[in-house]
Symmetry: C2
Subunit: 115 residues, 2 copies
């Protein structure tokens, strides 16, 4: 199967990133754990690709637990994991948080008059 073009790179324009119900569920579950959310915040606040070691130091949890959380964030589609030799670098997957954010906002309707 010949690939038409490499899409792992920075595509010029924005992409809507449509989320299915199942994806939303998975993402919310991934965000629900405090340690995992903190990890995501750490990744977001870092320049961009955060090393596992830095993450481990920032969260003060066992390596095994960190690895578990990373996999959860990855399988839920929230982050990308790039492996380079014996290191792993974490980065926020673009568009996903925006999509979730937009959907949540859409749930807040114009306040009902009969309140």
């Amino acid at each position: 199967m010949a690939s038409t073009k490499p899409e792992t790179k920075s595509t010029p324009a924005a992409r809507p990133v449509r989320l299915t119900r199942a994806q939303r569920s998975a993402i919310l579950k991934a965000l629900a754990d405090p340690k995992r959310f903190e990890l995501l915040e750490t990744i977001a606040r870092s320049q961009c690709p955060l090393g596992c070691t830095a993450a481990h130091e920032a969260l003060s949890i066992a390596p095994a637990t960190l690895s578990h959380h990373i996999k959860e964030l990855q399988t839920s589609g929230l982050i990308d994991v790039r492996r380079e030799g014996k290191f792993a670098f974490l980065s926020i997957k673009p568009g996903v948080l925006e999509a979730l954010s937009a959907y949540l906002q859409s749930l807040s309707p114009t306040a009902c008059p009969t309140r």
Copy 2:
């Protein structure tokens, strides 16, 4: 100095609704359960104050479970519960979803150049 303005009640204009870390955690945990999220969606989609009976029919879960989920959404600060006689009416608490949404969006930084 002090006395910028008291904003505890339903101010006509916008309300910032600042969320603490603990509140964010609680809200995300409340949203993480699929049935609970579906309940919130149902409330949001209804005119506004949704009766428990309607919710029960929409979700097809036992009354006890529904009551449990309602309490979770309420204690997390996502919904208001107004009681009227033997009925209970659910409505989305204004500002909370917007605040969470804004925070999530703020985590998505400008994509890192070294990707």
